[in-house]
Amino acid sequence: MKDQRNLQLTRRDVLLSAVTAALPMVAGAAQAETIRSVTDVRKLPLTLRVNGKDRELELDPRTTLLDSLQEHLHLSGTKKGCDHGQCGACTVLVNGVRINSCLSLAVMHDGDSITTIEGLGTPDNLHPMQAAFIKHDGYQCGYCTPGQICSAVAVLNEIKAGIPSHATGDLTGSPETSNVEMRERMSGNICRCGAYSNIAEAMAEVARSPA
Protein backbone atom coordinates (compact mmCIF):
# COMPACT_ATOMS: atom_id res chain seq x y z
CA MET A 1 0.00 0.00 0.00
CA LYS A 2 3.02 2.23 0.51
CA ASP A 3 3.23 2.24 -3.29
CA GLN A 4 -0.06 4.08 -3.55
CA ARG A 5 1.26 7.05 -1.69
CA ASN A 6 4.18 7.20 -4.06
CA LEU A 7 1.78 6.91 -6.93
CA GLN A 8 -0.21 9.85 -5.60
CA LEU A 9 2.89 11.97 -5.18
CA THR A 10 3.95 11.00 -8.68
CA ARG A 11 0.58 12.12 -9.93
CA ARG A 12 0.99 15.53 -8.30
CA ASP A 13 4.40 15.79 -9.91
CA VAL A 14 2.82 14.87 -13.22
CA LEU A 15 0.20 17.59 -12.79
CA LEU A 16 2.88 20.15 -11.97
CA SER A 17 4.96 19.18 -14.98
CA ALA A 18 1.85 19.30 -17.17
CA VAL A 19 1.23 22.89 -16.08
CA THR A 20 4.88 23.79 -16.58
CA ALA A 21 4.98 22.23 -20.02
CA ALA A 22 1.87 24.14 -20.99
CA LEU A 23 3.31 27.52 -20.02
CA PRO A 24 4.76 28.47 -23.39
CA MET A 25 1.34 27.85 -24.94
CA VAL A 26 -1.50 30.35 -24.94
CA ALA A 27 -3.09 30.89 -21.54
CA GLY A 28 -6.38 29.27 -22.50
CA ALA A 29 -4.74 26.06 -23.58
CA ALA A 30 -2.74 25.85 -20.37
CA GLN A 31 -5.91 26.26 -18.32
CA ALA A 32 -7.73 23.60 -20.30
CA GLU A 33 -4.85 21.18 -19.82
CA THR A 34 -4.85 21.74 -16.04
CA ILE A 35 -8.60 21.27 -15.69
CA ARG A 36 -8.53 18.09 -17.73
CA SER A 37 -5.73 16.67 -15.57
CA VAL A 38 -7.43 17.50 -12.25
CA THR A 39 -10.67 15.75 -13.19
CA ASP A 40 -8.78 12.74 -14.53
CA VAL A 41 -8.77 10.70 -11.33
CA ARG A 42 -6.24 7.92 -11.71
CA LYS A 43 -7.04 4.35 -10.92
CA LEU A 44 -5.17 2.86 -8.00
CA PRO A 45 -3.69 -0.64 -7.87
CA LEU A 46 -4.65 -2.88 -4.98
CA THR A 47 -4.78 -6.53 -3.98
CA LEU A 48 -7.73 -8.07 -2.20
CA ARG A 49 -7.45 -11.62 -0.86
CA VAL A 50 -10.98 -12.77 -1.70
CA ASN A 51 -12.11 -16.17 -0.45
CA GLY A 52 -8.51 -17.30 -0.16
CA LYS A 53 -7.28 -16.05 -3.54
CA ASP A 54 -5.26 -12.89 -4.22
CA ARG A 55 -7.05 -10.72 -6.74
CA GLU A 56 -5.26 -7.76 -8.27
CA LEU A 57 -7.35 -4.78 -9.27
CA GLU A 58 -6.99 -1.24 -10.59
CA LEU A 59 -9.85 0.86 -9.36
CA ASP A 60 -11.21 4.39 -9.31
CA PRO A 61 -10.82 5.32 -5.62
CA ARG A 62 -14.60 5.87 -5.46
CA THR A 63 -15.22 2.15 -5.90
CA THR A 64 -16.76 0.68 -2.76
CA LEU A 65 -15.68 -2.71 -1.51
CA LEU A 66 -19.16 -3.90 -2.51
CA ASP A 67 -18.81 -2.68 -6.09
CA SER A 68 -15.30 -4.15 -6.36
CA LEU A 69 -16.77 -7.57 -5.51
CA GLN A 70 -19.88 -7.30 -7.67
CA GLU A 71 -18.76 -5.31 -10.68
CA HIS A 72 -15.05 -6.06 -10.93
CA LEU A 73 -14.65 -9.57 -9.50
CA HIS A 74 -18.11 -10.67 -10.66
CA LEU A 75 -19.00 -12.20 -7.31
CA SER A 76 -22.73 -11.55 -7.39
CA GLY A 77 -23.54 -13.19 -4.04
CA THR A 78 -22.94 -10.03 -2.01
CA LYS A 79 -25.99 -7.82 -2.53
CA LYS A 80 -26.60 -4.08 -2.83
CA GLY A 81 -29.71 -3.17 -0.88
CA CYS A 82 -29.76 0.42 0.37
CA ASP A 83 -26.09 1.22 -0.44
CA HIS A 84 -26.04 3.36 2.75
CA GLY A 85 -25.25 0.91 5.54
CA GLN A 86 -28.82 0.63 6.72
CA CYS A 87 -29.93 -2.79 5.47
CA GLY A 88 -26.96 -5.19 5.84
CA ALA A 89 -27.45 -6.96 2.47
CA CYS A 90 -23.82 -6.17 1.59
CA THR A 91 -22.34 -7.69 4.79
CA VAL A 92 -19.01 -9.47 4.21
CA LEU A 93 -16.20 -10.55 6.52
CA VAL A 94 -12.99 -8.51 6.36
CA ASN A 95 -10.13 -10.22 8.21
CA GLY A 96 -12.86 -12.25 9.92
CA VAL A 97 -14.89 -9.21 11.03
CA ARG A 98 -18.28 -8.36 9.51
CA ILE A 99 -18.72 -4.93 7.94
CA ASN A 100 -21.04 -3.20 5.48
CA SER A 101 -19.08 -3.45 2.23
CA CYS A 102 -21.11 -0.57 0.75
CA LEU A 103 -19.68 1.90 3.30
CA SER A 104 -16.03 1.11 2.71
CA LEU A 105 -13.75 1.96 -0.19
CA ALA A 106 -11.94 -0.91 -1.88
CA VAL A 107 -8.65 1.02 -1.69
CA MET A 108 -8.97 1.08 2.10
CA HIS A 109 -8.74 -2.73 2.04
CA ASP A 110 -5.54 -3.27 0.05
CA GLY A 111 -4.01 -6.48 1.45
CA ASP A 112 -7.10 -7.44 3.47
CA SER A 113 -8.75 -10.88 3.44
CA ILE A 114 -12.37 -10.75 2.35
CA THR A 115 -14.83 -13.61 2.81
CA THR A 116 -18.08 -13.42 0.86
CA ILE A 117 -20.98 -15.85 0.79
CA GLU A 118 -19.18 -17.66 -2.07
CA GLY A 119 -16.26 -18.29 0.27
CA LEU A 120 -18.30 -19.66 3.17
CA GLY A 121 -19.61 -22.73 1.35
CA THR A 122 -20.50 -24.20 -2.03
CA PRO A 123 -23.70 -25.93 -3.22
CA ASP A 124 -21.95 -29.28 -2.69
CA ASN A 125 -20.31 -28.35 0.56
CA LEU A 126 -22.57 -25.95 2.47
CA HIS A 127 -21.39 -23.99 5.47
CA PRO A 128 -23.33 -25.20 8.54
CA MET A 129 -25.07 -21.80 8.67
CA GLN A 130 -26.20 -22.13 5.04
CA ALA A 131 -27.54 -25.63 5.76
CA ALA A 132 -29.35 -24.37 8.85
CA PHE A 133 -30.95 -21.46 6.91
CA ILE A 134 -32.33 -24.01 4.41
CA LYS A 135 -33.55 -26.36 7.12
CA HIS A 136 -35.31 -23.58 9.09
CA ASP A 137 -36.60 -21.63 6.09
CA GLY A 138 -34.55 -18.58 7.06
CA TYR A 139 -35.50 -16.61 3.95
CA GLN A 140 -38.25 -16.02 1.44
CA CYS A 141 -37.14 -13.96 -1.57
CA GLY A 142 -33.47 -14.58 -0.71
CA TYR A 143 -32.07 -11.15 -1.55
CA CYS A 144 -30.88 -10.33 1.99
CA THR A 145 -29.77 -13.93 2.66
CA PRO A 146 -26.04 -13.74 1.77
CA GLY A 147 -25.70 -10.75 4.11
CA GLN A 148 -27.79 -12.47 6.78
CA ILE A 149 -25.63 -15.60 6.63
CA CYS A 150 -22.30 -13.71 6.68
CA SER A 151 -23.61 -11.68 9.60
CA ALA A 152 -24.94 -14.75 11.44
CA VAL A 153 -21.59 -16.55 11.16
CA ALA A 154 -19.83 -13.45 12.51
CA VAL A 155 -22.37 -12.99 15.33
CA LEU A 156 -21.64 -16.45 16.74
CA ASN A 157 -17.91 -15.66 16.59
CA GLU A 158 -18.50 -12.32 18.33
CA ILE A 159 -20.44 -13.99 21.13
CA LYS A 160 -17.69 -16.61 21.50
CA ALA A 161 -15.09 -13.81 21.66
CA GLY A 162 -17.00 -12.19 24.54
CA ILE A 163 -17.96 -9.02 22.64
CA PRO A 164 -20.89 -7.44 24.53
CA SER A 165 -24.15 -6.26 22.96
CA HIS A 166 -27.07 -4.08 24.00
CA ALA A 167 -28.80 -7.28 25.18
CA THR A 168 -25.91 -8.42 27.40
CA GLY A 169 -26.96 -8.32 31.06
CA ASP A 170 -23.62 -8.49 32.83
CA LEU A 171 -20.90 -6.52 31.04
CA THR A 172 -18.13 -8.34 32.89
CA GLY A 173 -19.52 -11.82 32.17
CA SER A 174 -19.60 -13.85 28.95
CA PRO A 175 -22.52 -13.17 26.59
CA GLU A 176 -24.83 -16.11 25.83
CA THR A 177 -26.15 -17.44 22.53
CA SER A 178 -29.72 -16.65 23.64
CA ASN A 179 -32.53 -15.68 21.28
CA VAL A 180 -32.57 -12.11 22.60
CA GLU A 181 -28.79 -11.76 22.11
CA MET A 182 -28.92 -13.06 18.54
CA ARG A 183 -31.89 -10.89 17.58
CA GLU A 184 -30.20 -7.78 18.96
CA ARG A 185 -26.92 -8.57 17.20
CA MET A 186 -28.69 -9.22 13.88
CA SER A 187 -30.56 -5.89 13.94
CA GLY A 188 -28.30 -4.46 11.21
CA ASN A 189 -29.65 -7.02 8.72
CA ILE A 190 -33.10 -6.15 7.46
CA CYS A 191 -35.37 -8.81 5.91
CA ARG A 192 -38.45 -7.31 4.29
CA CYS A 193 -39.97 -10.78 3.87
CA GLY A 194 -39.80 -11.03 7.65
CA ALA A 195 -37.91 -14.32 8.08
CA TYR A 196 -36.43 -13.11 11.37
CA SER A 197 -37.76 -15.81 13.68
CA ASN A 198 -36.55 -18.57 11.36
CA ILE A 199 -33.15 -16.92 11.00
CA ALA A 200 -32.86 -16.92 14.80
CA GLU A 201 -33.82 -20.62 14.82
CA ALA A 202 -31.13 -21.42 12.24
CA MET A 203 -28.54 -19.52 14.28
CA ALA A 204 -29.60 -21.30 17.47
CA GLU A 205 -29.09 -24.66 15.80
CA VAL A 206 -25.58 -23.77 14.64
CA ALA A 207 -24.76 -22.31 18.06
CA ARG A 208 -25.81 -25.59 19.75
CA SER A 209 -23.79 -27.82 17.43
CA PRO A 210 -20.16 -28.55 18.39
CA ALA A 211 -17.73 -26.33 16.48
Binding site: Q8, I99, N100, L105, M108, T172, E184, N189
Partner: protein, 316 residues
Protein backbone atom coordinates in the same frame (compact mmCIF):
# COMPACT_ATOMS: atom_id res chain seq x y z
CA UNK B 1 -19.98 10.45 -5.61
CA UNK B 2 -17.65 13.26 -6.73
CA UNK B 3 -14.16 12.37 -7.84
CA UNK B 4 -11.35 12.43 -5.30
CA UNK B 5 -7.78 11.24 -4.88
CA UNK B 6 -6.70 9.00 -2.04
CA UNK B 7 -3.62 8.31 0.00
CA UNK B 8 -2.63 6.64 3.24
CA UNK B 9 -0.86 8.95 5.65
CA UNK B 10 2.42 7.70 7.13
CA UNK B 11 2.49 9.97 10.21
CA UNK B 12 0.01 12.08 12.15
CA UNK B 13 1.92 15.24 11.25
CA UNK B 14 1.90 14.27 7.59
CA UNK B 15 -1.87 13.73 7.77
CA UNK B 16 -2.46 17.08 9.51
CA UNK B 17 -0.20 18.86 7.05
CA UNK B 18 -1.94 17.48 3.96
CA UNK B 19 -5.47 18.17 5.21
CA UNK B 20 -4.52 21.67 6.40
CA UNK B 21 -2.76 22.66 3.18
CA UNK B 22 -4.65 20.85 0.43
CA UNK B 23 -7.99 22.50 -0.27
CA UNK B 24 -10.91 20.09 0.03
CA UNK B 25 -8.85 17.32 1.69
CA UNK B 26 -10.41 15.31 4.52
CA UNK B 27 -9.35 12.57 6.91
CA UNK B 28 -11.00 9.18 6.55
CA UNK B 29 -10.97 6.57 9.32
CA UNK B 30 -13.85 4.04 9.35
CA UNK B 31 -15.71 6.04 6.71
CA UNK B 32 -19.15 4.81 7.75
CA UNK B 33 -20.61 8.32 8.02
CA UNK B 34 -18.34 10.13 5.54
CA UNK B 35 -18.96 7.71 2.65
CA UNK B 36 -22.70 7.78 3.29
CA UNK B 37 -22.60 11.58 2.96
CA UNK B 38 -20.24 11.46 -0.05
CA UNK B 39 -22.69 9.25 -1.92
CA UNK B 40 -25.34 11.91 -1.36
CA UNK B 41 -22.81 14.63 -2.32
CA UNK B 42 -23.38 16.34 1.00
CA UNK B 43 -19.68 15.81 1.62
CA UNK B 44 -17.53 16.42 -1.48
CA UNK B 45 -13.85 16.04 -0.51
CA UNK B 46 -11.30 16.35 -3.31
CA UNK B 47 -8.73 14.22 -1.50
CA UNK B 48 -8.95 11.59 1.25
CA UNK B 49 -6.20 10.93 3.76
CA UNK B 50 -6.61 7.45 5.25
CA UNK B 51 -5.51 7.20 8.89
CA UNK B 52 -5.34 3.41 9.22
CA UNK B 53 -1.53 3.07 9.15
CA UNK B 54 -0.83 5.62 11.91
CA UNK B 55 -0.83 3.25 14.88
CA UNK B 56 -3.72 5.10 16.51
CA UNK B 57 -5.52 1.80 17.14
CA UNK B 58 -4.31 1.10 20.69
CA UNK B 59 -5.90 1.46 24.12
CA UNK B 60 -3.28 2.23 26.76
CA UNK B 61 -3.38 2.91 30.49
CA UNK B 62 -2.34 6.43 31.46
CA UNK B 63 0.05 7.28 34.30
CA UNK B 64 -2.94 8.69 36.21
CA UNK B 65 -4.79 5.35 36.08
CA UNK B 66 -7.13 6.25 33.23
CA UNK B 67 -7.22 5.09 29.62
CA UNK B 68 -5.92 6.60 26.43
CA UNK B 69 -8.02 5.42 23.48
CA UNK B 70 -6.44 5.82 20.05
CA UNK B 71 -8.57 7.71 17.52
CA UNK B 72 -8.91 4.73 15.17
CA UNK B 73 -9.89 2.18 17.85
CA UNK B 74 -13.18 0.76 16.60
CA UNK B 75 -16.41 1.04 18.55
CA UNK B 76 -16.48 -2.75 18.96
CA UNK B 77 -12.96 -2.93 20.33
CA UNK B 78 -13.58 -0.09 22.74
CA UNK B 79 -16.81 -1.57 24.09
CA UNK B 80 -15.16 -5.01 24.40
CA UNK B 81 -12.03 -3.92 26.24
CA UNK B 82 -12.14 -5.53 29.72
CA UNK B 83 -10.89 -2.30 31.34
CA UNK B 84 -13.74 -0.34 29.73
CA UNK B 85 -16.35 -2.92 30.70
CA UNK B 86 -15.06 -2.98 34.28
CA UNK B 87 -14.36 0.69 34.96
CA UNK B 88 -16.42 2.61 32.40
CA UNK B 89 -19.60 0.59 31.98
CA UNK B 90 -21.56 3.66 30.86
CA UNK B 91 -19.25 3.95 27.84
CA UNK B 92 -19.49 0.27 26.85
CA UNK B 93 -23.29 0.43 27.27
CA UNK B 94 -23.59 3.61 25.18
CA UNK B 95 -21.50 2.19 22.34
CA UNK B 96 -23.44 -1.06 22.04
CA UNK B 97 -26.70 0.90 22.12
CA UNK B 98 -25.67 2.61 18.87
CA UNK B 99 -25.72 1.58 15.20
CA UNK B 100 -25.36 -2.10 14.20
CA UNK B 101 -22.69 -4.73 14.75
CA UNK B 102 -21.33 -4.19 11.23
CA UNK B 103 -21.08 -0.42 11.69
CA UNK B 104 -19.50 -0.69 15.15
CA UNK B 105 -16.82 -2.97 13.66
CA UNK B 106 -15.74 -0.19 11.30
CA UNK B 107 -16.66 3.08 13.03
CA UNK B 108 -13.85 4.64 15.07
CA UNK B 109 -13.54 6.63 18.28
CA UNK B 110 -12.41 9.84 16.57
CA UNK B 111 -14.85 9.47 13.69
CA UNK B 112 -17.75 8.87 16.03
CA UNK B 113 -17.11 12.26 17.69
CA UNK B 114 -17.23 13.90 14.25
CA UNK B 115 -20.33 12.18 12.89
CA UNK B 116 -22.82 14.60 11.39
CA UNK B 117 -26.42 15.12 12.43
CA UNK B 118 -29.15 12.86 11.02
CA UNK B 119 -31.56 15.81 10.69
CA UNK B 120 -33.64 14.88 7.61
CA UNK B 121 -33.30 18.42 6.25
CA UNK B 122 -29.51 18.18 6.41
CA UNK B 123 -29.73 14.96 4.40
CA UNK B 124 -32.19 16.28 1.80
CA UNK B 125 -30.18 18.45 -0.59
CA UNK B 126 -33.42 20.00 -1.92
CA UNK B 127 -34.13 21.60 1.45
CA UNK B 128 -32.71 24.69 3.10
CA UNK B 129 -30.09 23.83 5.71
CA UNK B 130 -27.66 26.27 7.32
CA UNK B 131 -25.38 23.40 8.31
CA UNK B 132 -25.07 22.02 4.78
CA UNK B 133 -25.22 25.37 3.00
CA UNK B 134 -24.56 28.30 5.35
CA UNK B 135 -27.08 31.12 4.89
CA UNK B 136 -29.69 29.00 3.09
CA UNK B 137 -32.04 28.88 6.09
CA UNK B 138 -33.43 26.08 8.25
CA UNK B 139 -36.32 24.08 6.86
CA UNK B 140 -36.44 21.94 9.98
CA UNK B 141 -37.77 24.56 12.38
CA UNK B 142 -41.14 24.79 10.61
CA UNK B 143 -40.85 21.25 9.28
CA UNK B 144 -41.16 17.76 10.71
CA UNK B 145 -39.07 18.11 13.84
CA UNK B 146 -39.96 15.12 15.99
CA UNK B 147 -36.34 13.89 16.17
CA UNK B 148 -34.77 17.31 16.60
CA UNK B 149 -33.38 19.44 19.41
CA UNK B 150 -35.48 20.84 22.25
CA UNK B 151 -32.64 22.72 23.93
CA UNK B 152 -29.38 24.33 22.85
CA UNK B 153 -30.61 25.04 19.31
CA UNK B 154 -30.90 28.44 17.67
CA UNK B 155 -33.08 30.32 15.18
CA UNK B 156 -30.70 28.96 12.52
CA UNK B 157 -30.53 25.26 13.45
CA UNK B 158 -32.25 22.69 15.66
CA UNK B 159 -30.24 19.64 14.60
CA UNK B 160 -29.24 17.15 17.27
CA UNK B 161 -25.91 15.47 17.79
CA UNK B 162 -26.86 11.87 16.99
CA UNK B 163 -24.14 10.10 19.01
CA UNK B 164 -24.39 7.71 21.93
CA UNK B 165 -20.67 7.33 22.69
CA UNK B 166 -20.19 11.08 23.10
CA UNK B 167 -22.95 11.24 25.73
CA UNK B 168 -21.11 8.70 27.88
CA UNK B 169 -17.78 10.48 27.27
CA UNK B 170 -19.41 13.71 28.51
CA UNK B 171 -20.52 11.98 31.72
CA UNK B 172 -16.97 10.66 32.15
CA UNK B 173 -15.28 14.06 31.52
CA UNK B 174 -13.15 12.69 28.68
CA UNK B 175 -10.49 14.73 26.90
CA UNK B 176 -10.03 14.85 23.13
CA UNK B 177 -6.33 14.90 22.17
CA UNK B 178 -5.33 16.50 18.89
CA UNK B 179 -2.31 17.44 16.82
CA UNK B 180 -1.89 20.29 14.33
CA UNK B 181 0.44 20.58 11.35
CA UNK B 182 2.99 22.56 13.37
CA UNK B 183 3.26 19.61 15.75
CA UNK B 184 1.36 21.38 18.54
CA UNK B 185 -0.86 19.09 20.57
CA UNK B 186 -3.74 19.99 22.84
CA UNK B 187 -6.40 18.28 24.94
CA UNK B 188 -9.95 19.59 24.51
CA UNK B 189 -12.46 18.87 27.28
CA UNK B 190 -15.38 16.94 25.80
CA UNK B 191 -17.67 19.64 27.22
CA UNK B 192 -16.02 22.16 24.91
CA UNK B 193 -15.56 19.87 21.91
CA UNK B 194 -19.02 20.14 20.34
CA UNK B 195 -20.31 23.65 19.64
CA UNK B 196 -23.83 25.00 19.94
CA UNK B 197 -25.08 26.21 16.53
CA UNK B 198 -25.77 29.89 17.27
CA UNK B 199 -25.52 31.75 13.95
CA UNK B 200 -22.89 29.32 12.57
CA UNK B 201 -24.42 25.82 12.59
CA UNK B 202 -21.82 24.57 10.09
CA UNK B 203 -19.11 25.00 12.75
CA UNK B 204 -19.74 21.88 14.80
CA UNK B 205 -16.59 21.35 16.85
CA UNK B 206 -13.69 23.21 18.42
CA UNK B 207 -11.27 21.67 15.91
CA UNK B 208 -9.30 23.96 13.62
CA UNK B 209 -9.03 23.10 9.91
CA UNK B 210 -6.66 20.15 9.51
CA UNK B 211 -6.44 19.50 13.26
CA UNK B 212 -6.35 15.72 13.76
CA UNK B 213 -7.88 13.82 16.69
CA UNK B 214 -5.22 11.38 17.90
CA UNK B 215 -6.88 9.98 21.04
CA UNK B 216 -9.59 10.28 23.64
CA UNK B 217 -8.45 10.02 27.24
CA UNK B 218 -10.52 8.95 30.21
CA UNK B 219 -9.73 9.97 33.79
CA UNK B 220 -9.37 7.11 36.32
CA UNK B 221 -12.61 5.16 36.95
CA UNK B 222 -14.98 6.95 39.36
CA UNK B 223 -16.85 3.88 40.60
CA UNK B 224 -20.62 4.02 41.08
CA UNK B 225 -23.27 2.22 39.08
CA UNK B 226 -23.24 2.88 35.35
CA UNK B 227 -26.32 3.23 33.12
CA UNK B 228 -27.07 4.11 29.52
CA UNK B 229 -30.80 4.17 28.91
CA UNK B 230 -31.80 4.84 25.32
CA UNK B 231 -35.39 5.52 24.26
CA UNK B 232 -36.01 5.10 20.53
CA UNK B 233 -38.65 4.17 17.97
CA UNK B 234 -37.34 0.60 17.55
CA UNK B 235 -35.84 -1.84 20.06
CA UNK B 236 -32.50 -1.72 18.24
CA UNK B 237 -30.63 0.08 15.46
CA UNK B 238 -32.28 3.51 15.73
CA UNK B 239 -31.13 6.93 16.88
CA UNK B 240 -32.15 8.13 20.33
CA UNK B 241 -35.24 10.21 20.97
CA UNK B 242 -33.80 10.61 24.45
CA UNK B 243 -30.88 8.83 26.05
CA UNK B 244 -29.52 9.12 29.58
CA UNK B 245 -25.91 8.31 30.48
CA UNK B 246 -25.59 8.16 34.25
CA UNK B 247 -23.12 7.20 36.94
CA UNK B 248 -24.88 7.01 40.30
CA UNK B 249 -23.06 6.56 43.59
CA UNK B 250 -24.42 4.75 46.65
CA UNK B 251 -25.06 8.04 48.48
CA UNK B 252 -27.32 9.21 45.65
CA UNK B 253 -24.88 11.67 44.11
CA UNK B 254 -23.70 11.19 40.55
CA UNK B 255 -23.43 12.41 36.99
CA UNK B 256 -26.06 12.65 34.26
CA UNK B 257 -25.64 13.48 30.57
CA UNK B 258 -28.52 13.39 28.09
CA UNK B 259 -28.45 12.57 24.37
CA UNK B 260 -30.95 13.03 21.55
CA UNK B 261 -32.23 16.41 22.73
CA UNK B 262 -29.53 18.96 21.85
CA UNK B 263 -26.76 19.81 19.38
CA UNK B 264 -24.27 18.33 21.85
CA UNK B 265 -24.33 15.87 24.76
CA UNK B 266 -26.35 17.78 27.37
CA UNK B 267 -24.94 17.89 30.88
CA UNK B 268 -25.24 20.55 33.55
CA UNK B 269 -23.23 19.99 36.71
CA UNK B 270 -25.69 22.24 38.60
CA UNK B 271 -28.53 19.86 37.72
CA UNK B 272 -26.59 16.95 39.18
CA UNK B 273 -26.61 18.67 42.56
CA UNK B 274 -30.38 18.03 42.55
CA UNK B 275 -29.97 14.23 42.24
CA UNK B 276 -30.85 13.55 45.93
CA UNK B 277 -34.16 15.41 45.35
CA UNK B 278 -35.23 13.10 42.54
CA UNK B 279 -35.60 12.99 38.76
CA UNK B 280 -38.08 15.89 38.62
CA UNK B 281 -35.66 18.32 40.26
CA UNK B 282 -32.76 17.19 38.06
CA UNK B 283 -34.83 17.41 34.86
CA UNK B 284 -36.16 20.87 35.81
CA UNK B 285 -32.64 22.22 36.11
CA UNK B 286 -31.35 20.33 33.09
CA UNK B 287 -34.17 21.40 30.79
CA UNK B 288 -34.43 25.01 31.96
CA UNK B 289 -34.72 27.15 28.81
CA UNK B 290 -35.96 24.34 26.57
CA UNK B 291 -37.71 25.53 23.41
CA UNK B 292 -39.41 22.50 21.94
CA UNK B 293 -41.43 22.55 18.73
CA UNK B 294 -44.97 21.22 18.44
CA UNK B 295 -43.53 17.93 17.16
CA UNK B 296 -40.90 17.28 19.80
CA UNK B 297 -42.44 18.73 22.98
CA UNK B 298 -42.80 15.13 24.20
CA UNK B 299 -39.05 14.96 24.71
CA UNK B 300 -39.13 17.33 27.69
CA UNK B 301 -41.21 15.04 29.97
CA UNK B 302 -39.47 12.03 28.41
CA UNK B 303 -36.14 13.25 29.80
CA UNK B 304 -37.59 13.27 33.33
CA UNK B 305 -39.19 9.84 32.91
CA UNK B 306 -36.05 8.23 31.47
CA UNK B 307 -34.05 9.73 34.30
CA UNK B 308 -36.59 8.47 36.86
CA UNK B 309 -36.29 4.98 35.38
CA UNK B 310 -32.49 5.07 35.67
CA UNK B 311 -32.62 6.39 39.26
CA UNK B 312 -35.09 3.64 40.24
CA UNK B 313 -32.70 1.05 38.80
CA UNK B 314 -29.81 2.61 40.70
CA UNK B 315 -31.72 2.10 43.96
CA UNK B 316 -32.74 -1.47 43.12
Amino acid sequence: MREFTYERATSTLDAARIVTQLKGAKFIAGGTNLLDLMKLEIETPSHLVDLQDLGLDRIEETAEGGLRIGATVTNTRLASDPRVRRGYGVLARAIVAGASGQLRNKATTGGNLLQRTRCPYFYDTNQACNKRMPGSGCAAIAGVSRQLAVIGGSADCIATNPGDMAVALRALDALVETVRLDGQTRAIAIADFHRLPGATPHVETALEPGELITAVTLPPPIGGRHFYQKVRDRASYAFALVSVAAVIHENGSGRVAVGGIAPKPWRLEVAEAALPRGAGAVADALMNGAQPTHDNAFKVPLVERTLAYVMAQAKG
